[in-house]
């Protein structure tokens, strides 16, 4: 091969690389066999506590749910796993149709007209909603109202993404979680109001009338939501939302220490051309055969370049396919059942915890599967006890994000937590309390 190329050595192929920097000595270990590598990684992984080894009551934006075995088998098929973005539709109908089905299911879940093929996660989906609203108003409106009960990471990401755009992000530096109060700040300079339901504290927000208030000043409403809860609850589309976003990890994706996850994004049909991200549409060939293609590509970076509204290219394709398999397997009846199980178990846990002296549960708003518990001691201390003495991973310490919620724990219960798990938690909380 070297002869065919016309060089005498591999080194000659790099003659145009500056000599003094060529072939650095990389301080990286020598090669290791596949079996030794796997053994090393197994040992590393076993140093962790995790939700399969320890009963876990953590939520806070990532959820442990039952994922049917089929999900993993389908996404590990090499034809899905090792394919590229479906730019050549004739040889990509598998990926294209799976994503089209994903888009359709997201529309059905959220009550919206169109959904894209995904964003990186729930946080960047919200950021993209802000950017979409910004361009919709031709950069003339500068204000974004953000509820304090939107996930803290999402709010941070919105600020990072918009730091070069000259926009004002307001509304979330308050302890008041009443959305009607927040809505009073709507004005002609507001492009978007972002709320989350169920919110970061697990509470189901009263969304009636909110969209109307936004539309009265020409602003959009974006609702960030949680998809398993939509197996039970009225979807944001039915409340008049203009954009619905959310974290799709709970649709059969593993916890995986925070990623890869799945940002879903849906909007009304009149805004489809302003939406970022890939879109799969139905198409036909000359024989009338139905197929699918990436469409409206003129919105995207490879065509519009500096005029594109987003730079997104690679998204979370395989995760969207995983969610599609999950939703197809659980289906209409299964998703409802999972949501019901989460509801019953979390409400049972809340009732029992509320009965423990020294603990109280916030019931100011209804909740889906997470609830806030006021504890008699710092949450950190309680969690240390739970791990060290009971091998239980306790709920999230809200003092990390809300100064007025010191000693408040966000407890999450899913269909994977049994009656026994819950009772064990209750007994442990009693003991340390």
């Amino acid at each position: 091969m070297l002869a065919a190329v016309g060089v005498n050595s591999l080194e000659e192929l790099f003659a145009d690389v500056p000599a003094k920097h060529r072939f650095p000595e990389l301080k990286i270990p020598a090669p290791l066999s596949e079996m030794e590598t796997l053994a090393e990684l197994r040992a590393l992984s076993e140093g962790n506590l995790h939700a399969q080894k320890n009963t876990c009551f953590l939520g806070a934006g990532a959820y442990q749910h039952f994922s049917p075995s089929v999900v993993n088998y389908m996404i590990q098929r090499g034809e899905f796993l090792t394919a590229y973005t479906p730019y050549q539709p004739e040889v990509s109908q598998g990926t294209l149709q799976a994503i089209y089905e994903y888009q359709s299911m997201i529309c059905a879940l959220t009550g919206m007209d169109v959904a894209n093929a995904s964003h990186y996660d729930g946080a960047t989906s919200v950021a993209e909603a802000v950017i979409m609203a910004y361009h919709h108003h031709r950069e003339k409106r500068k204000k974004v109202l953000l509820a304090p009960t939107v996930h803290p990471h999402y709010r941070q990401v919105v600020r990072t993404y918009t730091q070069g755009m000259g926009v004002k992000i307001v509304g979330d530096h308050t302890t008041n979680t009443d959305l009607n109060e927040l809505a009073k700040q709507l004005d002609q300079d507001t492009m978007l109001l972002v709320v989350q339901s169920p919110n970061f504290l697990g509470q189901i927000e009263a969304l009636e009338g909110l969209a109307a208030k936004c539309h009265a000043v020409g602003a959009w409403l974006c609702v960030a939501t949680e998809p398993v809860s939509l197996g039970l609850l009225k979807p944001p589309g039915q409340y008049g939302a203009d954009v619905v976003t959310g974290e799709g990890q709970s649709l059969g994706l593993p916890l995986s220490f925070g990623g890869p996850y799945l940002g879903f994004f849906a909007t009304r049909k009149e805004y489809v051309r302003k939406m970022a991200g890939r879109l799969v549409g139905e198409a036909h060939d000359k024989n009338g055969q139905r197929g699918f293609v990436l469409t409206l590509s003129t919105r995207e970076q490879h065509i519009k370049r500096d005029k594109a509204t987003s730079n997104i290219c690679t998204n979370q394709g395989l995760m969207a396919i995983a969610a599609t398999v999950y939703l197809a397997t659980l289906g209409k009846h299964g998703l409802r059942r999972v949501a019901e199980l989460c509801w019953h178990k979390s409400h049972y846990a809340a009732k029992r915890i509320a009965e423990i002296p020294g603990y109280s549960v916030d019931t100011s708003k209804p909740f889906f599967q997470e609830f806030v518990v006021k504890c008699p001691k710092p949450v950190h201390e309680i969690n240390q006890f739970l791990i060290n003495e009971r091998n239980i991973i306790g709920g999230y310490d809200l003092s990390h994000d809300y100064a007025h919620l010191r000693q408040h724990m966000l407890v999450c219960v899913s269909e994977l937590n049994s009656h026994e798990d819950i009772n064990e938690l209750v007994e442990a909380l009693k003991e340390i309390g």
């Binding site: 990286i28 539709p89 609850l233 549409g281 299964g334």
Partner: protein, 493 residues
């Protein structure tokens, strides 16, 4: 008429794909006013789900079945050991909000990956948070902007970008609120140094920096890279490296040594994590010392050194002047595990060897194709090269037709119509994981297609002939948009 019914059409009322338990706790009533009245999801039995998705998968070309020479995508083999590694329960079932003390295995892995990426890139700092290349680009440009503002330099609003750049580069600059200045390329395919000097001479004080890909999107190593970097630094600007083409240079040269201030890596290209039909990827960024404080946070650091044979204690630290989070949680950890496994198996010598063979394979193909095909810039290439998919004496045939005909020969087409500076571009990147036999088969197919273009052009213009579906009417698809197969819900009417 369709290749495969929609999943919804495979169902019947009442069916479900998996059994679930009854509640094992007393039930709590649902507040009726909060409940939805519809839930339009499929009602399919599990076997039908399996058949449906299995049949769909069989409609795809993939690395697992075919050579996939997509330029700038680095479609190398995706090792299965990586999949097993990522699925180890200690990794897959770890919750991102767990106390870091219970996650030391994950943090050790992330720390080590940060260190190896620093080493490969020649950088002082790395963040693993960005979820894709474009995400890393936005991170990098925001850091450059923040760096200047932090020094009180508020006049810099322009980003210089070569006309051969990937579309994400200018799109990123716009997202960061900056203006794009396009630079021409010279006759040898490099960024035009004279044009760069001229612009900097007049406007240097307004320049945030340069975004450059090296090797560039023509597959060529920038011959003037050191001078280009010097000129940009000379006016106070920074240099951003798009690391999409890193597969050509791992162990060959380090961008940090060449003076790059920031670079994004694509773990789903260079480091073998799978493309998944459009993600998930991972786009970590490496930075020089002067940008380290601006990295998106948090990053993983050692909080307490190792003592008496025990491992160090790791934790999350937010850099002093961090631009902020770019993603919820810590990054696409599942991809970090896969990349780590890849780097561990190949080691320093293997990583360099992969780059050497990627470059050899591309040059081998180039040497075999250059007679029958027009080469855009005919010099020794790196891991990829660009052909023109047209011939003066084969009118009516375009790059698109070549691509469709390649499908009939069992190859995924190369990258089409990119970079924009080559007409009818076909960008070919074999990667190091294709063996000589496969490369020779590809050459044979390309030579036949070149001949067909001249003798039987219909074979190209009517291609593909052997795929499950033929060319689709994309124009009508965009006009009569059908993006969702579900009817409008009753409450919306």
């Amino acid at each position: 008429m369709s290749l495969e019914p929609l999943i919804y059409d495979l169902g019947r009322p009442g069916r479900t794909g998996v059994s679930l338990p009854e509640p094992d706790v007393p039930e709590t009533a649902f507040p009726a006013e909060l409940l939805r009245t519809d839930l339009d999801l499929p009602e399919v039995d599990q076997l039908s789900v399996v058949r449906h998705f299995t049949r769909l998968s069989q409609l795809n070309f993939s690395i697992d079945t075919r050579m996939y020479p997509l330029g700038s995508c680095t479609m190398k083999y995706n090792p299965r050991v990586n999949e097993d590694a990522a699925r180890l329960p200690g990794f897959a079932a770890s919750h991102p909000m767990q106390d870091p003390d219970t996650m030391q295995g994950n943090l050790a892995l992330m720390y080590q990956l940060q260190e190896w990426l620093k080493e490969i890139g020649g950088f002082a700092g790395v963040s693993l948070q960005p979820a894709a290349g474009a995400h890393g680009e936005l991170t990098g440009v925001l850091m450059m902007r923040a760096y200047h503002l932090d020094r009180g330099d508020v006049k810099r609003t322009k980003v210089l970008i070569p006309n051969s750049a990937h579309g994400t580069n200018p799109a990123t600059a716009s997202m960061a609120g900056l203006d794009v200045i396009e630079l021409p390329s010279d006759a040898r395919g490099n960024v035009d140094l004279a044009a760069l000097r001229a612009y900097i001479a007049e406007h240097g004080a307004e320049v945030v920096g340069l975004m450059i890909t090296n090797p560039n999107t023509l597959g060529l190593f920038e011959e003037n890279i050191e001078e280009v970097v010097a000129v940009v630094h000379g006016c106070g600007g920074l240099v951003y490296g798009d690391g999409a083409n890193m597969n050509a240079i791992v162990g060959i040269v380090r961008p940090g040594d060449l003076g790059f201030d920031v670079l994004h890596y694509n773990l789903h290209k260079t480091f073998s994590t799978p493309h998944g039909g459009g993600g998930p990827g991972s786009g970590p960024v490496g930075v020089s010392a002067r940008l380290s404080d601006f990295l998106p946070g948090p990053v993983v650091d050692i909080l307490a050194d190792s003592e008496q044979g025990k491992p160090p204690h790791y934790g999350f630290v937010t850099p002093k002047k961090s631009i902020g989070r770019v993603k919820a949680f810590w990054g696409n950890f599942g991809m970090h595990v896969r990349a780590y496994a890849y780097m561990r198996v190949h080691g320093a010598s293997g990583l360099r060897g992969n780059s050497e063979y990627a470059v050899l394979n591309a040059n081998y193909l180039l040497s075999k194709l250059r007679g029958a095909w027009n080469v855009a810039y005919d010099r020794l290439c790196k891991h990829e090269f660009v052909l023109e998919g047209v011939w003066a004496d084969a009118p009516g045939v375009h790059a698109l037709d070549v691509s469709k005909r390649l499908m009939d020969y069992g190859f995924h087409p190369p990258t089409n119509y990119f970079p924009l500076i080559v007409r009818e571009a076909l960008m070919i990147e074999p990667t190091e994981t294709e063996n000589k036999e496969t490369l020779d088969q590809f050459v044979s197919a390309m030579l036949k297609i070149a001949e067909e273009a001249h003798t039987q052009p219909d074979l190209l213009t009517q291609a593909p002939h052997t795929t499950p579906i033929s060319r689709l009417d994309e124009v009508s698809a965009a006009k009569q948009l059908v993006l969702c197969c579900r009817p409008i819900p009753a409450w919306a009417e």
